[in-house]
């Protein structure tokens, strides 16, 4: 089988050049347009998830005065919020959005390996979102089974959306897995096979390492979700009993017998735990690059960072049952899963230390992306530390069904990745749009989001200690919970409303800056990695003009003694380092 390296294809590489507006922006095969389509759709879906959370938070904070949230809608909102945020928002935005945009640019490729498949991926994702959203409009509404969709209650009367809602949810997830697989194959093969000259694996920016390992995790973990969804669909539609046990519904026995709900839980969490890292690893990568650029220092311990990403990815497949301690299991299993869970803390802590040491004595530029990146370190440490408690079986059992868990996973996989998303969006906005965003507005947005997030989630830990159960529509008369818990709940809701509203600042900023923003330089932060060295800003279809770049060094040559500037672009030959000013050496920037 003849293997033709990428460089030899330079001249005659087949590019699908668009001929009309529709081909350029709608049926586009350009990875950058697809990235924006993917990201935009993910953000729109995420806004739905955010609004749902504000609605049920209002019920929790002010149960007396809020009368538009009934118990059914409460459970539907909680379920859809969870599923949307984890799968349709974070996964799609990190991998579909940033993965698509960054992979070819950071590797010096013209596009993804399979542009057509890439386009299919985004449109399939759209279909899955439409199916998901359709469930709001069918009889019975969307499923209210909780985002984990545990049988048997998913399919039983009494659970909202137990008929049409759950079917649409399962079908939507199956379609999403198909979309993700098409995209994921593209990222993995592009990273392995389409790197430019000199770009060895260990010269790739950590963003790419994060996206790469996360994609591999996704490719191997989403099949578990697929299998679980297919079998559950059979149970719900065709009367099989894979998961559904013999069960009474309102006193009458249903047609199911003998199925194993625990089997579903195993399949779900075999997907569900790696999913945490599918979201976290790209965030780790992106934040490493943002920290390094704005601290004007190379990332501390690059190799350790790569190994930690790989180690976390591998370990994430053998910890899933720590989500199932309360389901009951052989004590030796509990011991095994607690041990593996706590071992994950080692590579994770290593990454945190390396981020801190990257900041140490750096020439830190406190730009808005840096605010968000440093904010991430705070929320991630706090969320991670409570994970150490919950990883232990004996501590998890009393805390598992309380707000302590809600606080933990929202800090560690809600707020933390979202802060990274903002850091990354502000950081790469000048490259993506060709304009600068408004710095002041971005910083106001940061403080409202960061302090607001703490005002929401810090008190939740105390609610958890008090034993306030999660998932409850209302607390009612519960003796062991002091009345003051309700005050705390109200304050959390007020903070949530403020944080929710303050996200409008972000949209004002990025949309307004498209029109009124200062025109951006091709490399406003003085970053060394390849995506900032494109001849055009924003990069055009094909990315690199006539010739693909050649890489001479890793992506982290900042503040190198003796160099003419405080950063050396990856594509700058050694001979130019001491003499060349960036503006002269950057290839063919016509501005």
């Amino acid at each position: 089988m003849a293997y033709v390296p990428l460089a030899d294809q330079d001249q005659d590489m087949e590019m699908h050049h668009p001929h009309s507006w529709v081909e350029k922006y709608v049926w586009s095969q350009d990875h950058k347009v697809i990235a924006i389509q993917y990201g935009g759709l993910a953000v729109l879906t995420g806004i739905v998830g955010l609004v749902l959370s504000l609605l049920f938070r209002m019920q929790l904070g002010f149960p007396e005065s809020v009368n538009f949230v009934d118990p059914n809608f409460y459970y539907q909102a909680v379920t859809m919020h969870g599923m949307i945020m984890v799968v349709y928002f974070l996964t799609a935005l990190f991998l579909g959005g940033f993965g698509n945009y960054m992979v070819p640019l950071m590797l010096g490729a013209r596009d993804m390996v399979f542009p057509f498949l890439n386009m299919m991926s985004v449109w399939t994702f759209l279909i899955s979102v439409i199916i998901l959203m359709a469930s709001f409009f069918v009889g019975g509404g969307p499923t209210g089974a909780g985002w984990t969709l545990y049988p048997p209650q998913t399919a039983m009367a009494g659970t909202p959306g137990h008929d049409a809602g759950i079917i649409l949810m399962l079908v939507s997830l199956i379609v999403f897995v198909v979309a993700f697989t098409m995209g994921g194959l593209n990222y993995v093969v592009t990273i392995l096979q389409y790197r430019c000259r000199g770009m060895t694996l260990m010269r790739m920016p950590l963003t790419i390492w994060g996206i790469f390992v996360a994609t591999v995790l996704g490719l191997f973990a989403f099949p578990a979700l697929l299998v679980a969804c297919i079998m559950m669909l059979f149970d719900a539609l065709l009367g099989t009993s894979f998961f559904m046990p013999a069960v009474l519904e309102a006193g009458t026995p249903l047609d199911f017998e003998g199925g194993s709900p625990i089997l579903f839980q195993h399949l779900f969490w075999f997907f569900g735990h790696p999913e945490v890292y599918i979201v976290a690893l790209p965030a780790f990568g992106l934040v490493s690059d943002v920290l390094s650029v704005h601290a004007r220092k190379n990332i501390f311990g690059y190799r350790m960072m790569v190994w930690a990403i790989i180690a976390i990815g591998g370990l994430s497949f053998i910890v899933w049952a720590h989500h199932m301690y309360v389901s009951g299991m052989n004590p030796y299993f509990g011991f095994f899963f607690a041990t593996t869970t706590l071992i994950i803390a080692v590579p994770t802590a290593l990454k945190v230390y390396n981020w801190l040491l990257t900041l140490w004595e750096g020439d830190i530029r406190l730009n808005a992306p840096m605010y968000f990146a440093i904010g991430f370190i705070f929320t991630f440490i706090h969320g991670g530390l409570t994970g150490l408690f919950l990883g232990n079986v004996v501590i998890d059992l009393p805390l598992s069904d309380t707000y302590f868990v809600v606080a933990h996973f929202h800090l560690v996989m809600g707020v933390s990745p979202i802060l990274v998303l903002y850091a990354a969006l502000y950081h790469w906005y000048p490259k993506i749009s060709g304009r600068m965003y408004n710095e002041t507005l971005a910083k106001v947005h940061f403080w409202l989001t960061f302090l607001g997030a703490y005002a929401i989630y810090l008190p939740m830990h105390y609610l958890g200690f008090l034993g306030v159960p999660r998932r409850y529509y209302a607390l009612g008369n519960t003796d062991f919970i002091p009345l003051s818990a309700q005050d705390l709940n109200s304050s959390i809701t007020i903070a949530a409303l403020i944080v929710g509203a303050s996200q409008i600042l972000f949209f004002i900023n990025i949309i307004g800056s498209l029109k009124w923003g200062k025109k951006a330089d091709s490399n406003p932060w003085g970053a060394a990695s390849l995506e900032w060295q494109t001849p055009d800003t924003p990069p055009v279809h094909g990315n690199w003009g006539e010739n693909l770049p050649t890489v001479y060094r890793w992506a982290y040559d900042y503040s190198v003694p003796g160099a003419a500037e405080d950063f050396i672009p990856q594509n700058m030959p050694e001979s130019d380092v001491t003499t060349a000013q960036y503006a002269k050496s950057s290839q063919g920037n016509d501005e």
Partner: protein, 204 residues
């Protein structure tokens, strides 16, 4: 490529172009081949998870073993023949030859279609015998596993039909060489999956 060597490299020490002026993929094969390999791993994960579920579900008390129809041996024969013919057409096209290409290539596809039809016939027999999806988990798994396997084969046949159209509309054999090579790998993979599935179904 030594994986350990690659990831222990110290990127801050080595400057300049590594590995000469020609960029190298991590693997010296085409991108399509790498993608197929990943896809096969994904499919393996999917089938493995189904099989694990099968074994776990089997331990529960309501399980009544299903005695698989003998026709499955015949179906297996069809799939083996299809795989053999595909290998033959691959060898022809790799040699750059065209003799017998049509026979072997179209023969393999037709046999694969026959396999799917034969599988559906066994489904009908089971249905006629009163074995429905909802009657027992063993039966449900039989339909599910054979169905998922058939769906994968139909996916392969979609690529096969694109090649067939290319060939019949006067395309050069070398245009479809890569597709035929990759399809052959996929066919062998599905044959292997089928044999494992069949062995598990027949022995439980």
């Amino acid at each position: 490529m030594g994986l350990i060597k690659t990831v222990t490299e110290k990127p801050w020490e080595r400057k300049g172009v590594i590995g000469g002026m020609v960029p190298e993929g991590t693997f010296a094969v085409t991108a399509e081949r790498v993608a197929l390999t990943f896809f096969l791993v994904i499919a393996t994960v999917i089938f493995s998870l189904f099989m694990v579920s099968y074994y776990l579900r089997m331990e529960l008390p309501d399980w009544e073993p299903l005695s698989e129809p003998a026709q499955l041996w015949f179906n297996t024969g069809l799939l083996i023949a299809s795989s053999v013919l595909f290998q033959w057409s691959r060898n022809i096209v790799v040699r750059g030859d065209t003799r017998n290409l049509y026979t072997s290539f179209f023969g393999s596809g037709v046999l694969a279609i026959l396999f799917i039809v034969a599988q559906m016939v066994t489904w009908n027999h089971l249905q006629a015998g009163g074995f429905y999806l909802s009657s027992n988990p063993a039966v449900a798994f039989y339909y599910l596993l054979t169905g998922v396997h058939a769906l994968h084969l139909i996916g392969g046949l979609w690529v096969w039909s694109k090649c067939a159209i290319r060939l019949t509309s006067g395309g050069e054999p070398k245009e479809v060489r890569l597709s035929i090579q990759l399809c052959t790998i996929y066919w062998h993979f599905l044959l292997l999956v089928w044999i494992v599935l069949f062995a598990i179904l027949a022995n439980t």
